[in-house]
Symmetry: C2
Subunit: 423 residues, 2 copies
């Protein structure tokens, strides 16, 4: 007898997380003898807890195929992490109640480090509470900070966005520098890891190319050395293009971006990293600046997704279902690199115990000795991840992204469950 | 006897200004009997004044053709405006000295409103100082604020970038809103005119689509009404996506973005528009927010240029040379719209006296009654301008933008000329 599957999206969404959703649904549809309906939880694990399920069987094949070129989370994502079994047993009992009611035998959780922890706990429902579910984690994070996988789907497209953007902005500021802007700063997301900032370095293929300076969260910010590097670039090339990671910290471990508070006099101190850096450059070097803050634009930029990334996002979704069919549980699908050039990769697995809550930072060997750029080793690692274009279809000059019907599944538990608030 | 031409780029650069350069050079090369060498001034009029000229004849046809897909200013741009003849005669005499030395008979200036004023003055060199030069202005501005032309090359691509970006970010925040970010703000450039912000409105094709709120510089900012609109969107659609123009002003005419100064206690007040709006939303509505500041990324984004824009940038450059061959001077090439749908256009001309220093703002009829979105009339105007894609070639996952050799022309005047400082 086939059992049903539950798929859910978690954490910050990406340009290609829906490609993994597409792969899960398409692969499951090829195995009706083993997998019945693929339900999607609305807003990640929250939808599972509140019995807010979506019947993906109501979506025609063409709609599922269109997920390939649609960014963000088609079923909604969440920032909600299950506590330990001892701390909130009610949530686990509720999950089992919902899973039983809908005959869920497979759970596919598509997310990053926090989500891997939730997926691990679901995989333990059998041992701990007597309701076995095969739980497989499908990696996804623009931050590229999951361990045991060569890279994370979602990252390659952000990496491409960053490299393309700083190249374009670099051309811009270079042409303005003689009588106007000399310094440009691009602030990028990436939390505590410098992967996305490093990707900007790919744009610098030749002497003098943008970016000339990269600020990594792995390197303690030293204002004097930073300003010296900026000044050198302006004096040598006429301009300076900078990629700065939002996770940059000073010697006290304090985020440079974090002063969005009130000062001693009660005045609001707005800011963020880029304007702060810009102000120091203006004050101490006198250069005119511009800055951009990419924020969600970078992780949602399906229009400039990397083909490698799209292919890997599909591969991990398909592998998750195929692994489930072999009886696997409690694992994350991984990307394993076989060679840099030509780039060859395959999928593998890693035990969730070793994945959950571990953050992989940029290795020091990927950062140049001066701390302001990427090494050849880093370039070899990153280069294949941004390879290839994979444009969405356009209509009226705009990318045609799909919104699924998202038909709700009638609740069966007869019980309302209210979740706690988390941030 | 053929005379030489001088081409120069001025003001903020765009994704397609080099397409106009390509058109000028390619068209001139087809008329060797009338036009000798096309020189380019390095960094706009500054290069003309300092006799810093580039010999474009040294560039092979393939390099000139590659300008079609290369953003920013291939010869450097400037922010430098010629003063009146009575105020700085020395500059005009110097221009004539350089023009005479290099036998310049044609001057093509590629820029916005300020640049049109400079071009006008060059066109008057004959009447005022006895050295006739045919001066033709080639329109270029991402701000779309030039009068007498239906639109400005450079704007269509920025418009497309804005609409694509807010659509993508809208999908992102919609999928996060249940348990995380509910409001997203995209701050866009555009100076005192709301054209670029309006373009974001194209992404909202159906009820509930992003953006739900647009803030135009033409509409006085009213915090209470703005917050009510944001709150309504969040309550109705679960999230709110906002496009905000950098030129937004309050009832006192003060830019909302302009508090990058010190407060009464000497504390630096960083900021800018988007963080300021975000803070008000957080404080008064309690919604979690994210914001992006597009800045140069939007005007340099050749990777997502609109095909219409690329074609028009080429057309105005070609028309400028063809007009010069008919003896024209003191005019700007314009885009004239013949019909909205199907979109048909041609080039025309406008006298520079009527162009220089005039700023065309978004008509009130293009903004909805509540002041927060665009009307159908605006949509009809904007829609064809973002039509079509025109992707650059890629290599190693990155767009292959050209850097010309920019071979300097040996100086002939034997005189060094130092220009004044302007900002």
């Amino acid at each position: 007898m086939p059992r049903n599957a539950l798929y859910a999206q978690s954490g910050g969404v990406t340009a290609v997380i829906n490609v993994s959703a597409q792969a899960v649904i398409e692969t499951a549809r090829r195995h009706p003898e083993r997998i019945g309906t693929v339900y999607a939880a609305r807003n990640g694990i929250i939808g599972a807890l509140t019995e807010n399920l979506i019947d993906t069987a109501q979506e025609p094949d063409a709609a599922i195929a269109a997920l390939r070129h649609t960014p963000a989370g088609a079923f909604g994502s969440c920032r909600y992490k299950l506590k330990g079994f001892d701390k909130n047993l009610a949530e686990y009992e509720r999950l089992i109640e919902v899973f039983k009611a809908h005959d869920i035998g497979y759970f596919f959780y598509n997310g990053g480090g926090d989500s891997a922890d939730t997926c691990l706990k679901v995989s333990q429902l059998g041992d701990k509470l007597g309701y076995p579910v095969q739980a497989i984690h499908i990696p996804k994070t623009m931050d590229n900070d999951l361990p045991l996988t060569d890279c994370c789907p979602g990252f390659g497209s952000v990496a491409k966005y960053t490299a393309v953007s700083i190249r374009e902005a670099g051309f811009d500021v270079a042409s303005m520098a003689a009588s106007s802007t000399q310094v440009f700063i691009l602030e990028v997301m990436g939390r505590h890891a410098g992967w996305t900032a490093a990707a900007g370095g790919l744009a610098a293929e030749r002497e003098g190319d943008a970016p000339q300076v990269i600020l990594f969260p792995e390197i303690v910010f030293d204002e004097d050395r930073f300003l010296a590097a900026v000044d050198r670039a302006v004096k040598t090339y006429g301009y300076c293009a900078i990629v700065a990671s939002e996770g940059l910290r000073d010697a006290n471990g304090r985020f440079l971006s974090e002063a969005d508070t009130t000062d001693a006099f009660g005045h609001a101190q707005l800011g963020g990293l880029a304007p702060r850096l810009a102000q120091r450059i203006k004050t101490r070097l006198g250069y005119k600046y511009h800055y951009a803050i990419a924020d969600y634009l970078m992780r949602a930029a399906r229009h400039i997704a990397a083909r490698t990334d799209v292919e890997q996002a599909y591969a991990v979704g398909r592998a998750a279902v195929e692994l489930a069919l072999t009886g696997a549980s409690g694992v994350m699908v991984t990307i394993e690199r076989q060679s840099d050039s030509p780039y060859r990769w395959t999928t593998g697995t890693a035990p969730l115990e070793q994945v959950a809550n571990v953050e992989r930072k940029l290795p020091r060997a990927f950062i140049t000795a001066d701390g302001f750029h990427i090494t050849e080793a880093c370039r070899r690692y990153l280069a294949p991840l941004i390879a290839g274009e994979d444009y969405p279809p356009y209509e009226n000059g705009l990318p045609r992204y799909i919104r699924l019907k998202n038909v709700p599944v009638p609740p069966k538990t007869g019980r309302v469950f209210t979740i706690g608030t988390q941030t």
